[in-house]
Amino acid sequence: MIDGSVAGSTGPAHASGLAIETTALTKRFGRQTVVDDLALSVPRGSVFGFLGPNGSGKTTTIRMLLGLAQASDGEISVLGERMPQRLGSVLPRVGALIEGPGFYPFLSGSANLRRLDSADGFAPNGTRSARVSRALDTVGLGHAADKKVRAYSLGMKQRLGIANALLAPRDLIVLDEPTNGLDPQGTREVRSLIRSLADEGTTVFVSSHLLAEIEQMCTHAAVMRAGKLVAQGTLDELRSAGTTRVIVTTPDADAAARVLRTLGLDPGHPDAPGPAVTATLSESIEPEDIVAALVAAGVRVRGFAVDHASLEDLFVALTGEGFDVVQ
């Protein structure tokens, strides 16, 4: 497990610095453990990506964070207060989109939002209509406010779901797969919306199975696999945890490999008689020293590159490749 500085810090002194904190959070359905010993640390003000393949326990975790499902074990604190014990004072400050939107098809978009807003005992009645139209405008649904939700497209419903999360001022916004069903334009809009929320100081917790999405908008991320947290930290921390390789392009492959070995690197055996030799870079050696050594040994260096593993490589390494849903 890769542990960022944030994940390492625990204790009451940090409780106020974390928007979400879980310790040993576990959820079992019958004999199946869906979420296993989760220790999430989401700093306040961060845009936190919650990554993992389908079926890795992301939505179940979100349901526990919001008091919809009870944890089998472990503790949750959201915005510095215990959940679900303090649900009544925590949730009014949290906006959420959970596993797709849910609306009454026979009501219009704005009637749906007014209905959900009236359920929040702290939301003032007087400003309801104004807040509803502001939220609809924010997600670009102002023109469809009076249309029945039955007639909405999937993307419009998704936007309406996001509008619901924005009805009141929030300290934390939880968005579960927010770009599902959106076209590229809608995806871009959601991304810029999340950025503007973050600029106002709102903590945004975004779950996704798409790494590219997380990479483009998040400051922090956690990676789930089969109910377990396999990595957590800032994006930079996660990136630096990946391996870095040097790639030497040369006609003298054997000679280059010998030089790399004398430096303590392991170029392996170039399986194809190609012009490139690659080796994993260790922290004790600077890339420029390798070039100097190669040149000194008379290797004709035509190209030299230092390649950082992308987050995608890391994601695949952490969660496995392909469509297998881990049981």
Binding site: L68, P101, G102, F106, L116, A119, P169
Partner: protein, 289 residues
């Protein structure tokens, strides 16, 4: 927002104390009565006394002495149509519509995935149960009044109207008889409180509203079947349907209130027991819909 603290004013202002939920109750009633289904059910109920009145009017060849209670009285006084309509609707049509509303209460929200958003709002699970139950009660009242009023109106239109001869032989004026019609509608509403609580509890057990509706309606029929079997006589006073047709005492002079009281007490018992069961089930339920 130019304000230094946007949360302090305007659209971002928050209530400092939590509202009791009157706004949410109003919203619940609005959702209930904005559904076409609700109006279709009320219209179907209104059709019951209308059909009776029209049928009796067309074939008014005199009393045959058979058929449900009060049918014979219709031709003499149109004010009895409402009571005849209620008598016919109570065993099946009323429980059917109440079963739809009560069975849909929680399961319907789960089915449209709105349940999780209501709970995250947060509506509070107890408050949601209470509001759902109260809305079902309002529907029971609306249904009973619909039957009564539709019956009285069609009765006035098709039959002579005059002072009503009660079961005790006394005669009361039109105003008094309208009050008694209202009392009978209230009696029917109270009769359905128990079934509504049963429906609410069943609705917390499933995410499939149709299943909850069907189960509630089936239970109302089972209760009436048990109530008609002499082998289960010991059970009769405990069945929520036992007093359903016991409103005849309201047609005596003076009004005999004891059956109203017994019925109300029994229904209250069902509300307490099934309300507690619904709370026990729903307060700790994992919402995975």
């Amino acid at each position: 927002m130019s304000s230094s603290d946007p949360r302090a004013s305007g659209l971002n202002a928050r209530r400092t104390t939590r509202s009791l939920g009157a706004g949410f109750f109003a919203s619940e009633l609005a959702v209930l009565f904005r559904r076409r289904r609700t109006w279709a059910m009320l219209l179907a109920l209104a059709a019951v006394p209308i059909l009776i009145a029209v049928a009796v009017r067309i074939s008014s060849s005199g009393s045959s002495g058979r058929g449900p209670a009060f049918i014979d009285s219709i031709t003499q006084n149109g004010l009895f149509v409402g009571i005849a309509g209620l008598t016919i609707a109570i065993p099946l049509f009323l429980p059917l519509t109440v079963g739809v509303v009560a069975g849909d209460s929680i399961a319907g929200e789960a089915n449209t995935a709105t349940l999780r958003y209501l709970l995250v709002s947060p509506v509070g699970r107890i408050r949601l149960l209470v509001v759902k139950y109260l809305a079902a009660v309002v529907f029971c009242l609306a249904a009973a009044l619909t039957l009564s009023i539709a019956g009285i109106l069609i009765g006035i239109a098709l039959f002579p109207v005059g002072p009503v001869t009660l079961l005790s032989g006394d005669t009361v004026g039109i105003g008094d008889s309208l009050v008694r019609s209202l009392l009978i509608a209230l009696y029917a509403t109270v009769s359905l409180l128990g079934l509504s609580a049963v429906g609410l509890f069943i609705s917390t057990l499933t995410d499939a509203p149709v299943g909850a509706m069907a189960a509630t309606v089936v239970l109302s029929i089972v209760a009436q079947v048990l109530d008609s079997l002499s082998q289960t006589e010991w059970l009769h006073p405990w069945l929520f349907s036992h007093y359903w047709l016991g409103f005849a005492d309201l047609l005596r002079q003076p009004i005999e209130w004891s059956s109203f009281g017994q019925n109300a007490l029994l229904q209250l018992g069902y509300v307490v027991v099934f309300g507690a069961l619904a709370y026990g089930r729903f307060s700790s339920k994992d919402i995975l819909s």
